[in-house]
Symmetry: C2
Subunit: 246 residues, 2 copies
């Protein structure tokens, strides 16, 4: 199962979710690979993985997929990836480069999670073309919710042109503070607009999640009894249950 | 004076700052133009500007610069802009397209502010090539601070290759909560690393700033006595003073 963790709105918790869902799934006995598809390389850095050698950039240019064993297996990224958009512009089937790289690895893992950059360019299109599902972390704020319909349009386009099996795996709220009226209103709005897709588990605002990357640790290692660890574990349990049913 | 408001880290307050610094400068009697250079078009949407007609996308493809009079003059954006990276890939002097569009308008305004997307691709490179200064909104969090050195590298590259006059106009902290130890530690770190560039004014976490875009209002209109309005006005005063000196 290949899952893109994507939202072109910036700062909504894509990287934080890729790491803590990924490790959570591993803690439940699943074999997991994380792909850092963002030139910012936040996932690579947050897990303390070296990126001085081969990265996803080299693989998209023709090399082997560089899998680095860490807490979970990781394919690192680096700032070089920022150049890939113009470098792939004239390549035949440029949308399917990542799909071809991941297909040989699909049987080795239960879950391959792709941390997407905050944009709808060629990298995100590659992720959607390679994926079975898209998970959308959503900040309960106005600008984040209003961008959702554009995401759905792009997804629909990729489904009809390149990847007929692609579907929304789910939407989950992040950085949620129930004391804020704005957050509570947006939650109601999302439940109305996307009743089927919204996960019951909500990730609350929790500073431990922002502190964990400083020492290159995931939340279960940094602060196992925090709200952050509790919320991501609940989400992981819900994800596993949802996939068992289908 | 052309200023890019940029940080490739997502969700740090670029759009919120472009709007509230822009309107703040106008309230102090300056002539201001805002450029939305993000395919998400959050600035366009937050000011209630129509983007069904011509946008910055059309201008970068050869049309006139479409200036829409609103609270301040705005050049709107739309999702079409997401395609510009591959469409400009083989164009001669693709980095200077925006500079050529803005030069004829430079004398009509005291300030032209460019709201940049969360990436270091061709759009941000165009913004840096066209600008006199870069303002960097910085969330006082670990991942945001660590991305700063990459921004500086790209800026250095543009300065040596395309725009020798480019400089850092300043770094200012956003979404700051002095109760969070993490925020206070990062503030100390930034002051040590960039003593010259850090503005004294800090933008505190304030939910009014997140609510204002819902009714397409800037902060001075939505909640003039809020911390958000107070903080952005202080920053605007500091910006004007800094430019008066030079
Ligand atoms: N639930 C949470 N509570 C508190 N802080 C959080 C939470 N989730 C993420 N953060 C912090 O918020 C910031 C943004 O999160 P993150 O970098 O994961 O988002 P992103 O969507 O990957 O950003 P980008 O768009 O730049 O890739 C980070 O500093 C992170 O540590
Ligand atoms: N000082 C603040 N206090 C509280 N909320 C804020 C503040 N500044 C911005 N916000 C909110 O945080 C979110 C991110 O801000 P904004 O969209 O301006 O960031 P950005 O850097 O432009 O994001 P992107 O990288 O997606 O372009 C928005 O929902 C905004 O309303
Ligand atoms: Mg990220
Ligand atoms: Mg923005």
């Amino acid at each position: 199962m290949i899952i893109s963790i994507s939202n072109h709105k910036g700062g909504v918790g894509k990287t934080t979710s890729a790491i803590n869902i990924g490790v959570g799934l591993k803690n439940e006995g699943k074999k997991v690979l994380l792909i850092d598809l963002d030139p910012q390389a936040n996932l690579t850095q947050s897990l303390g993985v070296q990126n001085a050698g081969k990265t996803i950039y080299h693989a998209m240019k023709g090399d082997q997929l560089p899998v680095v064993p860490a807490t979970v297996d990781v394919v690192p990224s680096s700032i070089d990836l920022a150049a890939i958009e113009s470098e792939l512009a004239s390549k035949i089937a440029r949308e399917s480069v990542l799909k071809k790289l991941l297909t040989p690895h699909k049987d080795k893992y239960d879950y391959i999670l792709i941390d997407c950059p905050p944009s709808l360019g060629i990298l995100t299109i590659n992720a959607f073309t390679a994926s079975d599902e898209i998970f959308i972390p959503l900040q309960a704020e106005y600008l984040a919710l209003s961008g959702l319909s554009k995401m759905m349009e792009i997804m629909e386009l990729i489904r009809s042109e390149l990847n007929p099996g692609l579907k929304i795996g789910g939407i989950f709220l992040t950085q949620f503070d129930s004391r804020r009226v704005l957050n509570r209103n947006i939650l109601e709005g999302v439940k109305d607009q996307f009743p089927q897709e919204v996960f019951k588990s909500i990730i609350r605002e929790n500073v431990s999640l922002a502190e964990a990357p400083i020492s290159q640790r995931h939340i279960y290692d940094y602060s196992a009894r925090s709200k952050g660890a509790e919320d991501y574990m609940a989400l992981v349990t819900e994800i596993i249950k949802k996939h068992r049913k289908t």
